[in-house]
Symmetry: C2
Subunit: 299 residues, 2 copies
């Protein structure tokens, strides 16, 4: 059944989702919703959407699947906008980087129809964003994490899972709390750390000298610091409790390293570095086997 799909947000993630579904023949009409006519026009020119909608009512009429691919801070407004027009057969999902806050927004707006919302998060991205960065292969071989709610019918979860499989993604299931804790540790905290390092260097009087001698290690370490400031502000706030736990933990760890360094405890430093080096090598081999690496890119 080629369902009508409503795409709210036609940037990198939403655009790639639409292009992948089209390529797989898994989409009927794709209707785009964007904040500006200009953005919508660009999405149409790139064949991400087939048409725009005059209003939310028109967009949602007869929709099988609604994908919310907007920054997490915009989710509450979007849920409020769609709630009055949501038909009983429509399944809503999202691609937000945090889940507890998006679920809370959905519950507040959808009330007893919360079972129609299946929360999701594809683990793919790039430093580039916007519809021009969208590509049908973005999710190929990547993970799509679903964090189903107790209220979700199995058929609703399966409809979302099918769409992601059609995009080439592997379905993983976590609780929302697990999801947010995991990504605070392996994604949100590293972004914060990279931002902090680059901002600190950039604000110094001798920033030019410092940047001049930064080499390939610095390049890799700080690549994520080129990410969208607004998106990461929103993610940081949306996942604040888990991110603060990770940040506190990490500051404690740095304090311990500082103590070891000050005392000249070479063995303690070597133990820390050795734990990290062995784990990173093992992880590198595992990820390399599972996902051949695309070429990195800077903006």
């Amino acid at each position: 059944v080629a369902d009508k799909i409503v795409l709210v947000g036609t940037g990198l993630i939403g655009g790639s989702f639409a292009l992948a579904l089209k390529k797989a023949g898994a989409a009927g009409t794709i209707v785009g919703v964007e904040r500006s006519g200009e953005a919508l026009e660009r999405a149409r020119a790139l064949c991400i959407v087939d048409e725009g909608a005059a209003d939310w009512a028109a967009a949602l009429q007869g929709a099988g699947l609604v994908m919310l691919a907007v920054p997490v801070a915009q989710m509450p407004a979007v849920f409020t906008a769609i709630a009055p027009h949501l038909e009983a057969r429509t399944v809503v999902t999202d691609a937000g980087s945090t889940k507890s806050d998006v679920i809370a927004a959905a519950r507040a707006a959808l009330g007893p129809r919360i079972g129609q919302f299946v929360p999701g998060h594809p683990i793919a991205g790039a430093e580039r964003h916007g519809p021009d960065a969208a590509t049908p292969g973005l999710f190929q071989g990547k993970k799509a994490v679903l964090t189903p709610l107790p209220e979700n019918a199995p058929e609703a979860v399966e409809r979302v899972a099918q769409a992601w499989r059609a995009c080439g993604a592997q379905i993983h299931t976590l609780s929302a709390e697990q999801h947010d804790a995991v990504f605070a540790a392996v994604s949100h905290l590293p972004h914060l750390l990279a931002f902090a390092l680059v901002a600190d260097i950039a604000e110094r009087p001798d920033a030019d000298l410092l940047f001049q001698y930064a080499a390939s290690g610095f390049r890799d370490f700080t690549r994520i610091a080129a990410s969208s400031p607004e998106m990461w502000r929103d993610i940081s706030l949306a996942n604040r409790p888990a991110l603060m736990r990770e940040l506190d933990r990490y500051i404690d760890r740095l304090q311990a390293l500082r103590t070891a360094l000050e005392a000249g405890q070479g063995a303690a430093l070597a133990a820390e570095f050795d734990t990290a080096s062995a784990a990173r090598k093992a992880w590198g081999r595992a990820i390399e086997a599972a996902e051949p690496r695309p070429a990195p890119r800077d903006e």
Copy 2:
């Protein structure tokens, strides 16, 4: 004049230096000094050195240039070993990642002949190490930083600079203090941060779950955490004063971010991220223009 060159340490850096000089026709006989006969045999098999030396006296007899490419912690012992055999015409240089401590070791061992030592540091490397990782192109287009001493004759500095130019490197000059401060900020601290992050995750009961969801941002951010624990222990201790200043600064910065996060100050977070993102993009463009990127590699 094809000088006799003594290579102390035939691993990634020393080996690549020798192979590059040979390729450029800028080396006479290259004599290797290694801690084991096995390592020396491997260097000979890989054509990194032409011959081994029976002892320090034989190695140094008639040498034009001595390259010390051993971990910084071994430098004091090496200077002590070469001091009694150093001829007046011989210039000694090194490839150590820190400079103040190596210079102190050289002064202690060489005394009034300190002018024969020209400190250096090529800004190139790879996660892999050892002679098998050596390649003649390692320094092509990269920076070789020299931190000349007041006692160095211009001819001595020029002899070292010529060798690095023959390897394809660009010569940069800094004071040892500048060098150590710069690299504490753009290299040593990032390594410490990446090691700390990976070690912290690796030690958790749910490490497998966390690593499973780590994606490309984590991969790039933590690539340097696969580096040699022993080498980075030595660098951390060798550059302790500058590294502690950087670590303290960075912990302060994280504390400020934590405060902003706790207070939900989105504008402060966005300002930090924006400063970083703009600076990282500008640096990425600059470095991309100056040095085309090689493919990244994990071990």
